[in-house]
């Protein structure tokens, strides 16, 4: 489904502090699989995730989604693919303070359009599925860390993406909440979604939900199991 060929990514290219975060990644990620990019800090796993999720463009190489090159797409088309194909769960959640949980969940669907009442019902259903229905009207800054993450998950799912991308999803969670997150992950995988995670948390990597672990070091793939 997603194929990366010869991906290299540089930061501050041409400057004194030039840094190559990815140094030649060739990878095929089939659909409906839970894949984890595993590695220490600075190994390039988050950069790789952003390249796959169209949040960053590679410096060299191509990314294809179902055979279509998405790394070279003009920005206007890339935005559409990002909205409809990928759902993002960020490490710091990036929820909009001052808005309710429900409003945060509905936000990514506004640019796509559609009936507001249908959208609201979908957002409420997602919050209910994640056992957060009773907190829908609460401002996100009033929620606990675990609740905030569930809002972030609901927001990632609002456009019904084929691929859910999560960057270090358990980094800010204790063991109980991490276990809860893995349970949610299992549900998402059961719905036939592809899931891509970065993590250096052994609990995630060793989870039975995860089907594939790609180990990165210094911007290169050093293990694929």
């Amino acid at each position: 489904m997603i194929e990366l060929s010869g991906i290299r990514k540089a930061f501050n290219q041409g400057r004194e502090n030039e840094f190559w975060a990815l140094q030649g990644i060739d990878l095929k990620i089939p659909a409906q699989q839970v894949t984890v990019f595993y590695g220490p800090s600075g190994s390039g796993k988050t950069t790789l995730l952003t390249v796959v999720g169209c949040l960053a463009r590679p410096t060299v190489g191509r990314v294809t989604l179902k055979g279509t090159d998405i790394s070279g797409l003009p920005e206007r088309f890339l935005t559409g693919i990002r909205r409809r194909t990928f759902g993002f769960i960020f490490q710091q959640f990036h929820l909009i303070r001052g808005l309710s949980a429900l409003d945060n969940v509905m936000l990514p669907a506004y640019p796509i359009g559609g009936d507001w009442r249908v959208l609201r019902a979908r957002a409420e259903a997602l919050l209910d599925q994640l056992k957060l229905g009773h907190r829908r009207a609460a401002r996100v800054e009033w929620l606990s860390g675990g609740e905030q993450q569930r809002v972030a998950i609901a927001r990632a799912l609002i456009n019904d993406p084929e691929v859910v991308v999560a960057d270090e999803p358990t980094a800010n969670l204790d063991s109980a909440l991490s276990k809860e997150f893995l349970g949610i992950l299992e549900t998402l995988a059961g719905q036939g979604r592809s899931i891509l995670l970065t993590s250096h948390d052994p609990m995630v990597v060793e989870s039975s939900v995860v089907q594939r672990v790609i180990t990165l070091r210094d911007g290169r793939i050093v293990g694929d199991a």
Partner: protein, 340 residues
Amino acid sequence: MFFQPAIIALLFASAANVVVLVGVSPFAVAIVRHWDVHSGSERQLRLERRTYLMSALVTFVLGVQLVALLLFVFNADRMAAMFVGAMCAVGTLNVNAYGFPALIAQMAVFFAAATWLAVNHVDTQAPDYPLVRTKYVWLLVLAPLLIAAFALQWRYFLGLKADVITSCCSRLFSSQVRGLSGDLSAWPPLPAMIAFYASLGVATITAAFVAAKQRGGYALAIASLGAFVMALAGIIAFLSLYVYEQPHHHCPFCLLKAEYGYVGYWLYVPLFLATASGLAAGAVQRFATVPSLRAIVPATCGRLARVAAVGFAIVAIVATVIVLRSHLILIGHVSTGVTP
């Protein structure tokens, strides 16, 4: 003389055009030489990223050129009061040898810019950059024209001297004068009127057809060009006479003056817009078979054709209103041989 706001604006716009063009040229050459959308090389990806900025810059300066033509003509008319002997823009443009060449170059830039902008618009609608190389080759081909337009404007505006006694439009647009303007002034009104309405009619019908069927861009381009030429000829040959209500005053520039209700703008603005749209439709039609543009080109052609149809129709309607409201009975006099 040089430090007129309009002159500074025009020169600034034209200079910006040249500066951007010179700046973009190495990029355009790199696109022509190295563009390969199937490659994932660092150079190709850099070209893809930079093409947004370059296209945006060129779009801006060429967009400004569309307005610059209007300002050029308006300024030429407004400055007539500063020159001895000048009654309208013709006098201003005749102050030195570069006036009319500068106007013609500005008109050429207007149409060239319109067609490039249309091709660029179509290209940006597709996800695979189908016309990148074409539009940058085109830009390199247009470079001499754009530079020449700036050079002519520079020489023209720099050569404007208030102590020059210039000639008024009656010396240029008269049946007694040899050359194109004289020939057009001597063209009998009736055949000129028939040619004027026939060409506008053909262009409007063709544009309406293209708008409805979303094909036939080439035919529209040819019809638009024909209508443009015949409309200008008709304005000189007969329409101006109806406006001025004088059988010998053929000037197409006096129409822009306040005493004639700025009627020239009602004729020229839709005429130029319609012609540019028609030519642009023809330019994009060429790419109708590009796989990623199969749906985009017909839709764009259709939109451009609608603009062309409305523009040509407005010209015809305005011309008809002028003829009907005029106190001059030109055709009747022609038939009895009274008109010179």
